[in-house]
């Protein structure tokens, strides 16, 4: 298709028309995020937790491994380096999964309400820029922040783990005792972190939605965490009427990454779960735009 034909097409015309301004708005949002000291609190906390986890594993790793495998030693012959970088990363991943949403929401939950509280919307929204574009730029910037966070999480936990503890087979207990050969592990972590990114995007999207409803910085952060805790509690109960709610709660799909560490991986099911999370993110995004376009700026 020729360029001028593309430009004549309505959809492409809208894209060509809005792309430069969207790019500029996204750059502004990212600049604002990374210029604030508070944005680095999450990174700092993540790095400290991962470092501490690795230091703890240097001292206690073998003892912990012996404790876990003592009941299995009758049935299995344990050989090689089982306390390795992969195991440490898997343990860190399981341990940190509870805290990662909080660390991300600390920044994303403040992106809209922070401006309302600071009064800066009073200046920005008198400029000729659509409210939907501002929200879209904030969403994309929040996703980028989440991506950077997950990359640091992955690189630091995996890289440091492999550097300190070396490679080896991965033994995990997920339903049963699963042992994966060294060459069969790395791709599982890549997919697990990718899935983690998608699920954290949903959490970030929820925090942005709640941020659009709030006039202060703290409420959206606390309410996002409260929703995650309540929904996760309902999901884990899985009893009676509450159990029927599970398919409709996005928290039911946050830990699907764990199934990547089983022998019988159902990639299609994992994809469906990721798609459900993505749809949740889209719904949260749509609702945020709907609310923000009608919002009266009173601050």
């Amino acid at each position: 298709m020729q360029l001028n034909q593309l430009v004549q097409n309505k959809t492409w015309r809208i894209i060509f028309l809005h792309l430069p301004s969207m790019y500029s708005l996204i750059k502004i949002e990212l600049y604002k995020i990374f210029k604030q000291k508070r944005s680095y609190i999450g990174f700092a906390a993540l790095i400290v937790i991962i470092l501490l986890s690795h230091i703890a594993m240097i001292w206690e790793g073998q003892e912990m491994h012996d404790f876990i495998t003592q009941n299995l030693s009758d049935a299995f012959i344990m050989q090689g380096n089982l306390v390795n970088g992969y195991l440490i990363t898997y343990l860190v991943l399981n341990f940190l999964w509870v805290y990662v949403p909080l660390l991300i929401v600390l920044v994303t939950g403040d992106l809209i309400s922070g401006e309302a509280q600071a009064g800066t919307f009073r200046i920005i929204l008198t400029k000729p820029v659509s409210r939907a574009k501002i929200i879209t730029a904030k969403y994309i910037a929040a996703m980028f922040y989440t991506f950077v966070f997950m990359v640091i999480f992955a690189v630091l936990s995996l890289g440091l783990g492999l550097w300190i503890f070396g490679k080896g087979d991965l033994m995990v207990i997920f339903g049963s005792v699963n042992i994966f050969s060294e060459s069969d592990v790395l791709w599982r972590f890549v997919l697990a972190f990718t899935y983690g990114f998608i699920s954290m995007c949903t959490v970030a999207a929820l925090s942005l939605l709640l941020s659009s409803l709030s006039g202060n910085s703290l409420s959206p952060i606390l309410s996002t965490m409260a929703i995650i805790i309540v929904f996760t509690f309902i999901s884990s109960l899985n009893l009676g009427v509450l159990g029927t709610l599970n398919p409709y709660l996005f928290t039911s799909y946050l830990d699907t990454w764990q199934s990547l560490f089983s022998y019988d991986i159902r990639l299609w099911d994992i994809l469906i779960d990721a798609l459900i999370l993505f749809i949740h993110s889209l719904v949260f995004y749509g609702l945020t735009i709907f609310i923000f376009r009608k919002k009266d700026i009173l601050s």
Partner: protein
């Protein structure tokens, strides 16, 4: 030649929670006006200005700017407006220059260093261009707020309390700046202010609102000419004077009193009658003075 209306507001209403903040407001601002927008606290001034800048939606009525309805031509109209709403809140962790650069980009304009520096110079902040806003005084933020309103070289400037918090020299600077923007660059300016002196000294037209409704609108000079006189009677018995004037059923309005004088608003022709009543009641009238300014006019209407 007839001036073109720049802002036309008809029957504008807005309810905030249970309070009718603006109630069927009408007003019209013509090109090249410095339009004073007056009203006591809670009269609906800020709500009206926020509706003019699309920060608030209206419940009913029409709001046309540059001949077009704001709600259907938002971005096009905002591109020709510079606004300063209440207090200036910037990104405190960024410098003055960076704040203006970001706001340029929000407006979809290139952030040209020469233009930004020129604006900083015009509001007297060029030497602090690269200082973080958190280190600025209220007056400096106020000046930066006016600077950001000029970024897009607007045809219409909407300034809400621009001199609030400034020292006398700062107030004079801002008044001079507003006057020169109007006189030399032909910009239409809507100026909402509690400083009635601001309006009296620089506005040519004005509107007074109370409880969300227009009380009066017109040329400042004409309105001052029509007003009742604000008269001060210096007397030896203040309370007795009040008593006898209240009994007299004259068409006067008592505004204020202190130990030695009473201030009333009345038509010029009644002043001798008031004097006669006071003297007949054995009250010594030491002096009679009349004043005519906007503050007095404002007090009589609101």
């Amino acid at each position: 030649m007839l001036k073109q209306p720049v802002v036309e507001i008809t029957g504008l209403s807005k309810k905030l929670k249970s309070i009718q903040a603006v109630d069927g407001l009408n007003m019209c601002v013509y090109e090249n006006d410095i339009y004073g927008f007056l009203g006591p606290n809670g009269s609906g001034k800020s709500t009206t200005i926020r509706m003019m800048t699309s920060l608030l939606s209206s419940d009913s009525g029409s709001l046309n700017i540059f001949g077009k309805p704001l709600n259907k031509n938002r971005n096009q109209i905002l591109g020709k407006i510079g606004a300063f709403i209440e207090k200036p809140d910037f990104y405190e962790y960024l410098t003055a220059y960076k704040n203006l650069e970001l706001l340029c980009k929000y407006s979809g304009q290139p952030a040209i260093p020469g233009k930004i520096n020129k604006i900083l110079e015009s509001v007297g902040l060029l030497d602090r261009a690269h200082s973080k806003v958190k280190s600025f005084s209220k007056g400096m933020k106020q000046r930066l707020g006016i600077g950001q309103a000029l970024l897009n070289d607007p045809d219409l400037l909407i300034l809400d309390e621009p001199t609030s918090g400034l020292d006398p020299a700062g107030v004079k600077d801002i008044r001079d700046l507003i006057s020169s923007l109007n006189r030399e660059m032909g910009k239409t300016i809507i100026l909402s202010s509690h400083q009635l002196q601001d309006i009296e000294m620089i506005a040519n037209r004005m509107c007074i609102i109370s409880k969300g409704k227009q009380v009066v609108e017109g040329y400042v000079e004409d309105l001052l000419m029509q007003q009742s006189y604000f008269t001060i009677f210096e007397v030896d018995q203040v309370y007795k004077s009040i008593e006898v004037l209240e009994k007299s059923k004259l068409r006067i309005k008592l505004i204020e009193k202190d130990e030695s004088q009473i201030k009333v608003v009345c038509k010029k022709g009644i002043i001798p009658e008031i004097n006669k009543i006071l003297v007949n009641n054995r009250i010594a009238v030491k002096s009679i003075g009349t004043k005519q300014n906007l503050e007095d006019y404002f007090l009589t209407l609101t």
